[in-house]
Symmetry: C2
Subunit: 257 residues, 2 copies
Amino acid sequence: MSVRKSKANGAAGSARVSRASGAAAARHGPANAPSEDEIFARIYEAVLDHRLQPGTKLKEVALADAFGVNRAVVRKVLARLSYNRLVALRPNRAAVVASPTIDESRDLFAARRVVEAAIVECVARAASREGVKALRAHARQEQDAYARGETRRGLKLSLAFHRELARLAGNGVLAEFLDQLIARTPLVVLAHKSTSGDSACSDDEHAGIVEAIARGDAHAAMTAMTAHLTSLEGQLDLTGKTRAAPDLAAMFAVSEV
Amino acid sequence: MSVRKSKANGAAGSARVSRASGAAAARHGPANAPSEDEIFARIYEAVLDHRLQPGTKLKEVALADAFGVNRAVVRKVLARLSYNRLVALRPNRAAVVASPTIDESRDLFAARRVVEAAIVECVARAASREGVKALRAHARQEQDAYARGETRRGLKLSLAFHRELARLAGNGVLAEFLDQLIARTPLVVLAHKSTSGDSACSDDEHAGIVEAIARGDAHAAMTAMTAHLTSLEGQLDLTGKTRAAPDLAAMFAVSEV
DNA sequence: CGTCGCTAACGTGTTAACAATATGGTCCCT
DNA sequence: AGGGACCATATTGTTAACACGTTAGCGACG
């Protein structure tokens, strides 16, 4: 994605922190000012962890304060998040975590079926030994996480499984697009999940997909993937509720994973 | 909350222009400062028209000067263009018009085959009378433009044809993604076209797709679309050359279409 | 003669002050 | 007592100055 990484971490970093109020900066760790990418990831993971629910207002100064960075940085992060449809930014109003509509959710899953069917087809046709091995290991790891009750970790691994699949397909453009779709999925699920049951990718279905790929059975793999996504979509319903949950500083300070 | 609002638009706009140096602003027109979207569109069309070739440096101050806006606006536009992979922005270096690699070009066409096959399938299955009619009219218009020798206009209509198809499919997410792919395609073609022949969508192929849709023959429509894209891809080769073409102010000032 | 190091200009990245707008409370009027 | 307009505050949007890094030209040295 964006090529933004190495900048004035050393001297400028500490100077920046000292300015942005040592109190807020100190709350999330020593004197490290998170980079743009880190902030992006933090907010994204907050959505994954249900700490940020759809409709939550993301005020620039509050975020800047929470992360100990400048408002401009927050602004860029919010722009990126808005590109990915994770937040909606309204002119002259605070940005909010996006609240995907029912239609958008349906379209999202339909798009994933199209893209991921093509991806597993590619992978099933040109599957290397190592690739299949890595996929099996991935599915196993995921299963373990769920078995141990580490839901958050399991969810992340589930997403990573789909990403790994896209990587193996060898089409960078498609992989990049799927990345966007995957990023939006948890938000859609969160916004429209039917019950409190943490709807995640079932590991059995992932395993089934891997086995079809290992057999080189492209048709079976595509069918399994389509069914998998349809089953995921089936866990949703049409109720949409929003909640407010401020105090971003505390929220992000806690999870120093 | 209804009273104090009717003033800001006019005043702010003119104030902005007056600051940004009347000389530069005057070069591309009277006192209108283009919006962010307009600048985005202008640059995008410049790529379409081969006025901006891959590798051309896009300096922030030069662009800001050419359009008569602030550097911050240019910066946001460049970020958006970079998100769409039309420009590459390198840290602490001038942004350049992207030079798609061979692999990227191949992946792009493969992705388009996947997405557009799914799209025409949807359209063929649920095609309304009006939709087919609009498509036919579109193809006709396109053909006329090419017949009249209006290559630029024909190219734009070709792109619009694919966009219209995506719109008719009714999947907003997929349409949005295809939009990105379509936007990148001219750049890829420009970067790797085999000869000087302006490779554009053949209108005959478009017409064939429309007729398959009109018949409700999803399979034929998908085949036609896939073949169409493959034929387009076939017009490319693997030579990559870059040229420099500065003086952005004059370039954008000329085309006050 | 080629190559390395230095210096100055250029261009991007960052920051903080300023301007404009929405929001929420309060007061007045009906 | 209820509703609407006004004022104060909070928050976003814009602007210009500054700091940093890169690039290119030039001179010295091997």
